[in-house]
């Protein structure tokens, strides 16, 4: 059995920032990441970030990853890659599999930063090869340099749908149309207008009726929806596409939290079941903290800030106080408030009201 002060599960933006802040507070940190590279979904974000400079606005996601990894390397953080956390036991012991070896770790505090997974959409033949999560296509293109296919139908006009459509065109792939079932475009208008200028129609109030093909996708049929979100007969249109990207939201990867026994709640605004948490991001269990999308679907910017808060707070709870704790803590809370302010943050604030301890 290995003993550590703070274990961070997940090496994405939230986990990296949690590890940085906990280590800067003087805690001995173990960071586990299931893949062979740190950075989580940041490593495929070629666009420049919004928000404020404190969350690296104006910097591309891929470059933010390097900044965070360099910081982690300077600190007292042991990094375990290719490491799957398998279980969180009631007595606080966790088990990890790495390269076929099984081991147990007993941390004083655990920060779960496992992120989220892409949702699917129900329609006939939605399981056909050629139909992918939009993030999957982003991984294929932006990390591996492989095109998903020739002609794409994008389902979902939120920020991910819009950004991935733009990135598909950058990679030389034809985007035939972007659909969204809702009457308005969910993503930022700056992204939407850029895509419209490139000649791609954004069809609101439309959904996928079915997919067809011989072994893999060849054709998608879409249909218009009325104000009650019901299909309008006779409005079907067909697209010859070999790729469909489904970008209809994410759900938190909260299995480890369920296992731990902390109090969970279904919060629609957060994309699924999430743990109840206090303002330190501590769950109903004293030794378990959360950061990032696992606590509710948001943006990478807020995931990073949450990581810092959870790292500071978890370390503080085992008497490892950051020399600038007071001012940093206040600053991070203010950054979160400002990221969640205004109309765009309405649903996050609503979710937060339901998920707070």
């Amino acid at each position: 059995m290995k003993y550590v002060e703070v274990l961070v599960v997940g090496g994405g933006p939230a986990g990296l920032c949690a590890a940085i802040s906990a280590a800067e507070s003087g805690a001995e940190v173990l960071l586990t990441e299931r893949s062979s590279i740190l950075g989580g979904q940041l490593i495929k974000q070629t666009h420049m970030f919004f928000g404020s400079e404190k969350q690296y606005a104006g910097t591309r996601g891929i470059d933010i990853t390097d900044i965070l990894i360099d910081k982690v390397a300077e600190l007292n953080v042991e990094v375990m890659k290719d490491a799957n956390v398998l279980s969180v036991y009631e007595d606080g012991v966790i088990s990890i599999e790495q390269n076929g070896k099984y081991m147990k770790v007993r941390p004083e505090r655990i920060i779960i930063a496992t992120g989220a997974s892409e949702k699917s959409l129900a329609f006939p033949n939605n399981d056909m090869p050629g139909i992918y999560g939009a993030g999957a296509v982003q991984t294929l293109m932006n990390i591996h340099g492989v095109k998903p296919g020739h002609d794409v139908l994008m389902v979902g006009a939120g920020n991910i749908g819009l950004i991935v459509s733009y990135q598909l065109m950058q990679a030389g792939v034809n985007v035939k149309a972007i659909l969204d079932a809702s009457p308005t475009i969910g993503g930022y208008l700056v992204h939407a207008s850029k895509i419209r200028r490139m000649g791609v129609p954004i069809l609101t109030r439309h959904t996928v009726k079915r997919a067809d093909g011989n072994d893999s996708l060849e054709r998608a049929t879409i249909v218009e929806l009325n104000e009650k979100w019901q299909e309008i007969p006779g409005t079907e249109k067909e697209f010859d596409v070999d790729v469909m990207c489904v970008s209809v939201g994410l759900s938190p990867l909260s299995e480890l939290l369920f296992q731990s026994g902390c109090e969970m709640k279904y919060v629609r605004e957060f994309g699924g079941y999430v743990p109840l948490r206090d303002s330190n991001l501590k769950t109903s269990l004293d030794h378990i903290y959360i950061a990032g999308d696992v606590g509710g679907i948001e943006e990478a910017s807020s995931a990073m800030v949450e990581g810092h808060i959870a790292g500071l707070a978890a370390a503080m709870s085992i008497d490892k106080q950051h020399p600038a704790f007071e001012s940093l803590y206040k600053d991070y809370q203010e950054q979160l408030d400002s990221l969640r302010a205004g109309h765009a943050g309405d649903h996050i604030r609503a979710g937060m009201a339901k998920a707070s301890l």
Partner: protein, 101 residues
Amino acid sequence: MRIQEHPVLDFKKGKPVEFTCNDETINGFEGETIAAALHAAGIKVLSHSAENHRPRGFYCAIGNCSSCLMEVDGVANVRICTEPLKAGMVVKSQSGKGVIK
């Protein structure tokens, strides 16, 4: 279908390697995922579902959804969307739920 030129990204590739998928020789680059190499070679159907035998490809590409499970070097249920490619790997479509050896 590999991207030849990209306005933002510069793809760092491992060394070119050969591997087999269902006895067919495929070229890829060391360290990329098996799924990426197969997709670049035009292979989208990775297996068929256990009960209804429907074709299966990957869906999430980050190791969450289990839609891409294949047998790699005799080990069943490998998530090929995250498994790095090595020279000489033997990749096979598994039938049913795979056999743990």
